[in-house]
């Protein structure tokens, strides 16, 4: 009987508690010929940066995740059930957009000793704290303060992003006032606690407009190590092509992973988002159905001329990655030049990919060789 119960115990130790549920790899979006695929496979899930969505219950965490990554309409979020455990999901749309997103139930204190806070808060990533701006936010501020202090203690490298959320219900003046107030109070508390070195970034967000995509873009961008390179490339590209603004988009989530260094105004970002929607809807209706998750491929491109002498120009860069440019109508006369420059730009992006790929290959080969050695030393015991 001893052996029986030991086996049982071993079984439960291995598969029972502590085993992660719900982390469903999304690798299946890739076709077999995709150059990005091997990268996503090489990335062990734990090496991926993670984004932790925290905040009080009903602040809108699950809604954000569903709207940004699952194309849920804002109204459908009214019927979301309350989250009862950490829901984790792998996002790996392209080599640049690789992370794990964890949606927390607001009711549970995950710093309790019964949880492994090292495992939850450790690693490379960002903590997004969502505050419901339509509600009284004093309790949320308290929780924010505690969360930030404790998470920082566990992992000093964690970034902190604060979403002042559901601002669709607020007037423009209240928005500014709320942001100022929350900013002030949160930072004052940190100073009082002697932790002024912790940096908090604030965003006004709502799922009813594009602000949530914009804010999420900025959060994601900070997790992309190649960001400065990409920005540089975009700068070179637009200055040589007479383009006013260019965004590099992840088509699936409408997160922009880079833009040139000129300031982003909400309207142009929204415009570009809408354009992606149009392109995808049109190809959805008229494109040939190849079972891809999103009808978007190497041939995808689109030109939209607006009546205010502005042109929107979209080109595919790699699977699920698109470049969307805004330019004056007269600059578009030289489309040949723009297209040539675009090819150079795309080539450069590919090169950035390749550097990453080589790095990763080296990394994995250096990682896998000790494992091999190990199995050798284990082998000949008899």
């Amino acid at each position: 009987m001893a052996s029986y119960s030991q086996e049982e115990e071993k079984h439960y130790r291995e598969y029972g508690p502590g085993c992660e549920i719900g982390s469903f790899p999304k690798d299946f979006v890739y076709g077999p010929d995709d150059p990005d695929q091997d990268i996503s496979l090489i990335f062990a899930p734990d090496q991926k940066p993670k984004i932790l969505l925290m905040g009080l219950r009903r602040s809108g965490k699950s809604s954000i995740q569903k709207v940004v990554f699952h194309k849920m309409t804002p109204n459908e979020t009214l019927f979301l059930e309350s989250t009862n455990k950490i829901e984790s999901e792998n996002i790996s749309n392209s080599s640049f957009v690789q992370f794990k997103i964890l949606d927390f139930p607001g009711q549970i204190d995950f710093f309790e000793p019964s949880f492994d806070s090292e495992k939850i808060f450790g690693g490379h990533g960002a903590l997004v704290f969502v505050i419901d701006a339509q509600d009284d936010y004093m309790e949320a501020l308290n929780r924010l303060h505690q969360t930030v202090l404790r998470a920082h203690k566990v992992n000093p490298h964690l970034r902190f992003e604060v979403f002042i959320h559901k601002v669709d219900g607020l007037s423009d003046d209240t928005k500014i006032e709320t942001q100022r107030d929350i900013h002030q109070r949160a930072n004052d508390e940190l100073v009082d606690a002697g932790m002024e070195q912790i940096h908090l970034s604030f965003y006004l967000t709502s799922i009813y407009d594009h602000s949530i995509f914009e804010a999420f873009s900025k959060v994601v961008q900070k997790l992309i190590p190649q960001l400065p390179t990409l920005e540089n490339l975009l700068n070179l590209f637009i200055s040589n092509s007479g383009i006013e603004k260019a965004f590099l988009f992840d088509v699936l989530s409408k997160i922009y992973i880079a833009t040139d260094s000129s300031a982003v105004d909400m309207q142009s970002y929204e415009l570009c988002c809408e354009m992606i929607d149009v392109v995808i809807d049109i190809s959805d209706i008229y494109g040939k159905d190849e079972g891809a998750q999103v009808p978007f491929d190497k041939e995808s491109s689109s030109i939209i001329k607006l009546n205010n002498a502005t042109v929107l120009y979209l080109r595919e860069v790699s699977r699920y990655l698109a470049l969307v440019c805004i330019l004056r109508e007269e600059s578009f006369d030289k489309q040949g030049l723009i297209d040539y420059n675009f090819l150079c730009f795309r080539k450069a992006i590919q090169d950035v990919f390749d550097v990453r790929k080589v790095q990763l290959q080296q990394l994995t080969s250096s990682l896998s060789s000790p494992i091999l050695q190990n199995s050798h030393t284990n082998g000949p015991t008899t």
Partner: protein, 598 residues
């Protein structure tokens, strides 16, 4: 049963919360509480809603195993003060319902939290795990988790539909927490069956309420319309906590749960009982292997026979087949036969070391024969033996063909002839040397079951391990045998009990089994009353749910089930049955049945 049954809820406001739990309190032996028990008749159950009344009457109501007031008070400080209607059943830490079982001297108490702090912490941790960690997304059903430190938990997760819940349903779980994993897992089918009934009832009631409320107004539409309202009114439409009573539309839901949980605790306690199964002292079964019998020890025999032949030989041996070793050297044969003695308990090892003629399996299960002795055809035809021949090198194949035509009548003369050729070896080295002159061959073998008993692989790995000294090996082998003798005891006990029960089909909680005595030190002995459950008022409501009589087929299935439960309980499998039966048979022959006390 020593367990806590509790209802947990993932509260909209407070997350996982313990809402209600039922515990059993029993008088410990020599507890002086017995002295101050009120003799006046008391109501069986009573609500604790009315605080004043409870305070006065509590000491009277709570009859058995009462714990000290201070402990309760201390627990009160540890538990959270924040509760809402959804995660509350009774006012804080006041026992809500008490049922006393006078004949068993047990009080069943339901309250919001366990009354002892240590237990509260365990239940609270299990509650978080059951609702927020060990869940499959969107799945209902029972799961097990736990360990020695935090207790073993069967947790049954389920949803109740509710128009006001954010996702139109709310998460609940019923947990059974106990310290004894084996008992919990063995009670699994029983517990799960009854929890399912309780849960189905709750779900049916909640669905009815849901349909009624939904027929008044479409709550989806209502919620969409509410988007334009201000926050406060919006909240009222969805996501407000709601009490269980309201959700199932039943004021007495806690009372019902109390009865159900009390019954569950009591019935599962009666169902499986731990008993010390006694028999003759263990030492009378253990082979004495301290002397290196006849020169060879088991490790040497293993090397001589080789792993394949050893495997077959021991398999036959363990399940009670006759094993015959044939050869022309009585010293070698009897040394081999002696050496395998430690593999069997004493009562199963009946050997004849070297016989001039065949002896049937009723009188011996290990038999040494001269190579010229043939085995009667009718015995061969029964195919339940295993013959191993030691054939002198160079004559391979001839011996058996030569041996067959001879009869035992001319044995004497042949023996003389052969004596002339061979010098009998004198010591171990001699045996080892002379064995080199033989080829060992498995010449006859009856069909074996597809899988050997579990014990065989353990024996093999021990015997083939060259790092073990002989004395260590002997200790190890006797431990294995000891362990299995204990299982055999339980097996016999249950078989006898079954035979007796067949006479009287009216038995309320079914079989009594469980737990060999070799682990009894670590497992609390579960005591329970002998009185029939039918006396309990709770019982009557539940009995109607189970079918009255079992049909023939069902009985057959029930039989199989019982057997599987028993095997699982003693850590055995289907393919251990031949061994259990063999060991049990001789067990009873050797020691009279009266000695196996119930």
């Amino acid at each position: 049963m020593n367990a806590i049954v509790s209802i947990c809820h993932f509260c909209e406001l407070h997350g996982p919360s313990v809402v209600f739990c039922t515990q059993a309190f029993r008088d410990l032996l020599g507890f002086n509480v017995i002295a101050d028990i009120e003799t006046s008749p008391l109501e069986n159950t009573r609500t604790g809603e009315d605080e004043e009344q409870t305070k006065d009457g509590k000491s009277d109501l709570w009859k058995y195993g009462r714990i000290h007031q201070d402990i309760v008070a201390q627990a009160r400080n540890e538990t959270p003060n924040e509760t809402c209607v959804a995660c509350r059943s009774f006012p804080h830490n006041k026992p809500g319902y008490i049922s006393n079982d006078d004949s068993a001297r047990v009080s069943y108490i339901s309250s919001q939290y366990p009354l002892q702090t240590e237990l509260y912490i365990l239940v609270r941790q299990a509650c978080i795990r059951s609702l927020s960690c060990e869940v499959c997304p969107g799945k209902e059903g029972p799961i097990y988790f736990g360990d020695e430190a935090r207790g073993h938990v069967l947790s049954y997760t389920f949803f109740l539909r509710d128009v006001q819940a954010r996702g139109f349903h709310r998460w609940y779980s019923i947990m059974v927490l106990m310290k004894d994993k084996m008992l919990l897992l063995n009670s699994w089918p029983f517990i799960v069956k009854h929890l399912k009934q309780i849960i189905n009832n709750l779900q049916d009631s909640a669905s009815k309420i849901y349909e009624t409320e939904e027929s008044v107004v479409n709550h989806r539409a209502l919620r969409s319309a509410a988007v334009k309202m201000d926050n406060l009114r919006k909240q009222r439409v969805a996501g407000q906590p709601r009490s269980l009573c309201e959700m199932v539309g039943e004021e007495g839901v806690w009372q019902h749960l109390h009865s159900s949980f009390t019954w569950l605790l009591k019935a599962s306690g009666l169902r499986l009982q731990e008993r010390l199964v006694e028999g003759p002292p263990i030492s009378s079964f253990m082979a004495d292997c301290s002397d290196e019998c006849g020169g060879l020890n088991i490790q040497q025999s293993y090397n001589i026979l080789g792993s394949t032949i050893f495997h077959h030989l021991v398999h036959h041996l363990l399940i009670g087949r006759q094993v015959i070793l044939r050869g022309n050297s009585d010293v070698i044969i009897s040394a081999l036969i002696k050496s395998i003695q430690p593999l069997l308990p004493k009562h199963c090892y009946r050997a004849i070391h070297f016989s001039p003629h065949y002896v049937d399996c009723a009188s011996c299960n290990v038999l040494g024969l001269h190579s010229l002795v043939s085995i009667p055809q009718n015995v061969m035809a029964m195919k339940n033996l295993c013959v191993i021949d030691l054939i002198p090198k160079g004559e391979t194949g001839e011996v058996s063909s030569k041996a067959t035509p001879r009869t035992s009548s001319n044995l004497l003369s042949t023996q003389e002839v052969i004596k002339g050729d061979y010098q009998d070896p004198k010591d171990v080295q001699d045996i080892k040397d002379s064995i080199k002159n033989y080829t060992i061959k498995l010449t006859q073998e009856g069909p074996l079951p597809a899988r050997p008993p579990q014990i065989l692989s353990r024996i093999e790995s021990a015997v083939s391990n060259p790092t073990l000294t002989y004395s260590t090996l002997c200790v190890y082998l006797s431990t294995i045998i000891y362990e299995w003798i204990n299982k055999v005891k339980v097996w016999i006990h249950v078989q006898n009990a079954k035979k007796m029960l067949h006479g009287c089909p009216e038995r309320v909680p079914s079989p009594s089994t469980l737990q060999t005595s070799n682990r009894s030190s670590s497992i609390p002995i579960i005591q329970s009353s002998s009185h029939s459950l039918a006396h309990s008022p709770v019982m009557s409501t539940f009995r109607s749910m189970s079918p009255g009589g079992l049909g023939e087929r069902q009985q057959e299935i029930a039989h199989q089930d019982e057997k599987h439960h028993l095997l699982a309980a003693i850590g055995s499998t289907e393919w251990d049955v031949p061994l259990l039966e063999f060991w049990a048979k001789n067990f009873c022959q050797d020691s009279s049945q009266e000695m196996i006390l119930q």
